[in-house]
């Protein structure tokens, strides 16, 4: 009995020792190259050009000096048919395995996005290392140009792009789309995906990333873009404007207002003859931040005037954006989904002609603006 117990303890000890050696497929940080940005461009013969921006932990033992982040950025480029194949192909150039769990952004070249991105996203959805919070962007030139450019502002360009997108919430003039949002829109019957536009500005000879405007997709193909103004219109309608600045001309003088908050909804109304009206009720709270030459006007009068002017401005932006999407035939608002929810009985009859119905729909924007504060002073200065 005692002998059996000893054998049992011995076997248990061996098992525990075995399990202490680590995981079977363990991946040490020094054996991996962290992918931080991925770019996809159109290549010849229907192939795709993959640009991978990666960063790795230094493995050099002789160099005790602290390496700058810049020197640790590695760029890999491959051309082929499948992304998985190209990622594996990089092992011919690198003795370390690519790890895409920390990928910050996927940038599509404009031409590539026009061809369709669904097949390329399949890899990022299927791979167990890939994450859903990776940002999707479209370059107005090529993805390679974006990922291979070293700017002064950021040591790791892909991380910089991610931070830039996060900062966009402060001005609400660019969308921020991640893989999850994009995939959900792609999986929808009617909703069209959008993504941020990115380009390189070379003012003063120094390259700098600029995120502005919106790429509009129909199914998975890029069909057009929205400028900053229309993007703001889209964000107003989608209830995504929480911060930002509104610049208007009041009494022919510039006034700068801060957005303190907004609430918006989309309410489609389907008439019996299958005519669609889309209502956009919006309420906005603003604060006066800078006004010039408005002497002699009372605060009440000024705020009433500003409320009216801003209301017209928002109305115009939303309508312009909606009309633009009607031209593209892209329901980026998810109106179709809302119609399906509200009129499930009619949906089966109209879903096949949804494109036409959307193009012919009438937007009705009602904006309620309230100027809530005037800052620290109640009159114009000087």
């Amino acid at each position: 009995m005692k002998r059996k117990k000893y054998i049992g303890v011995f076997l248990a000890a061996v098992l525990i020792l075995c399990s202490c050696t680590g995981c079977w497929g363990s991946k040490e940080l020094t054996d991996m190259v962290q992918v931080i940005g991925t770019g996809l461009d159109n290549a010849e013969n229907g192939q795709t050009k993959l640009t991978v921006q990666a960063g790795s932990a230094s493995t050099s033992k002789s160099d005790n000096k602290k390496k700058s982040a810049e020197s640790q950025i590695i760029l890999y480029q491959k051309t082929g048919n499948g992304i998985f194949d190209m990622v594996r192909d990089i092992t011919h150039e690198s003795n370390r395995r690519l790890f895409i769990g920390h990928n910050q952004c996927i940038v599509f070249g404009k031409e590539d996005a026009q061809k369709g991105v669904k097949n390329q996203l399949d890899f990022f959805l299927r791979d167990s290392e890939a994450r859903m919070d990776v940002n999707i962007l479209v370059s107005d030139s090529t993805a390679e140009e974006i990922l291979s450019t070293q700017t002064e502002d950021y040591d790791m360009p892909a991380v910089g792009i991610k931070q830039l997108l996060e900062m966009q919430q402060a001005n609400a003039e660019s969308v921020s789309t991640d893989l999850m949002d994009f995939s959900l829109a792609l999986a929808s019957e009617t909703t069209c995906p959008v993504a941020s536009m990115i380009h390189l500005s070379k003012s003063n000879g120094k390259p700098r990333f600029v995120v502005s405007g919106t790429a509009v997709f129909k199914k998975d193909k890029l069909v057009g873009t929205l400028d900053e103004e229309k993007t703001r219109g889209y964000l107003w309608a989608m209830n995504k404007v929480k911060n930002g600045v509104v610049n208007i001309q009041s009494h022919s003088q510039p006034v700068c207002l801060e957005i303190l908050g907004s609430r918006a909804a989309i309410k489609p109304v389907l008439q019996a003859n299958h005519h669609l009206t889309v209502h956009f009720p919006i309420s906005v709270k603003l604060g006066i931040r800078e006004i010039k030459n408005q002497d002699g006007i009372s605060y009440d009068e000024l705020s009433k005037q500003l409320e009216q002017d801003v209301s017209h401005l928002i109305q115009k932006k939303i309508s312009d954006c909606f009309h633009e999407t009607q031209l593209y035939g892209t329901d980026i608002y998810g109106v179709g989904k809302l119609v399906e929810e509200k009129y499930p009985q009619d949906w089966d009859n109209i879903k096949d002609k949804w494109d036409t119905l959307y193009r012919n729909s009438i937007p009705e924007v009602s904006v309620e603006v309230k100027v809530k504060d005037s800052g620290e002073i109640s009159k114009t200065y000087g």
């Binding site: 079977w24 859903m132 919070d133 989904k337 499930p344 949906w347």
Partner: protein, 360 residues
Amino acid sequence: MKKTKISSSQLFYTIICYIQSFSIVMNFSFGISGRDTWFALLLGSGIAFLSLRINIAIMQHFPGKTLVEINSILYGRKVGKILSLFYLLYFLFLSSVNLHDIGDFVGLSILPETPTVVILVSFMIVCGWAVMKGLRVIVRYSAAFSWITFIAFIVTTILVSSKVNWHNLLPVLTTAPKSILQSAWITSFIPLSSAVLQMVAPNVCKPNEISKILTKGLWTGSLFMIAVIIRDTAVWGNMAKSFVVPAYETLRLSGFSEVFQGMDVVYAVILITLEFFKIALLESVLLSGFSQLTNQKSHPKIMAVIVSVLMALIASQIFPSIPRHIVFAQKTEPFILSIFEFFLPCISLLRIKWTCRSRS
């Protein structure tokens, strides 16, 4: 056969834990009923409740007797033993399929480069060890596992609340009724099966509470599963159909800062723990059924090793790929399950009624 005594609360948490453990395989139903899966599960709970009432009626007629003992009394020694043998094979099938699930899940989520057979063998070593310690030791942990899962569910739901879009659940009930019924039939047996409970329930110290506890446990477990399905649907909409483990994909989203984004492994460990509980319970039931069938007081410990090896072997060979497994679970498995969970208990109950009537 010496019976292990367990408390009423242990039985209650055992049922909940058993049902919770199926949250990694709900893609079977999502694939059929999409965003209306929550309703299919609600309907499935109704069917499972009916099936449970049948099993309770049988158990109440033979208080303190397990499924194997009831079969022998009801159908005679020979036929009863053959029937019980089929039930044991059914438990072996159930545990092997679930073991295969865990192999797929671990391989997919945590250890992609580790051969599946290594995962299965390691898992079965732990399960076999637990089984050797007895049913009482296994069910003792059910309350802790259940509460950990409840807490993890609440925490992760709060963390993914920014990704929740209630519109993803709308419009309600637009899936074809045939698909909803098919999905309800699957859910009534795959997470909510009750045959295994017929082997555990007779061990409860207070037999008069069995009916109440089983019913309460079934509905608590069902409501938990419905809540999980509603959360996953609200996050993913119809896209939940595409994932192999929708619940895990939701959990992967629930990082609460840049630092804590890679928390997947913690959630995966909770799901693996639940699977461990279920497989250990099934193996324990299988072994106690075997000893009852062979009229032994308790099963020899070597049997636990043999069954563990057998389960690992079957699990490693049973399905060639995950999509094949999903198709099998959607089309074939519900019929196998319904024979043991619904039709055979119905026949047993009819036989009891018929015997009672002919006696009177």
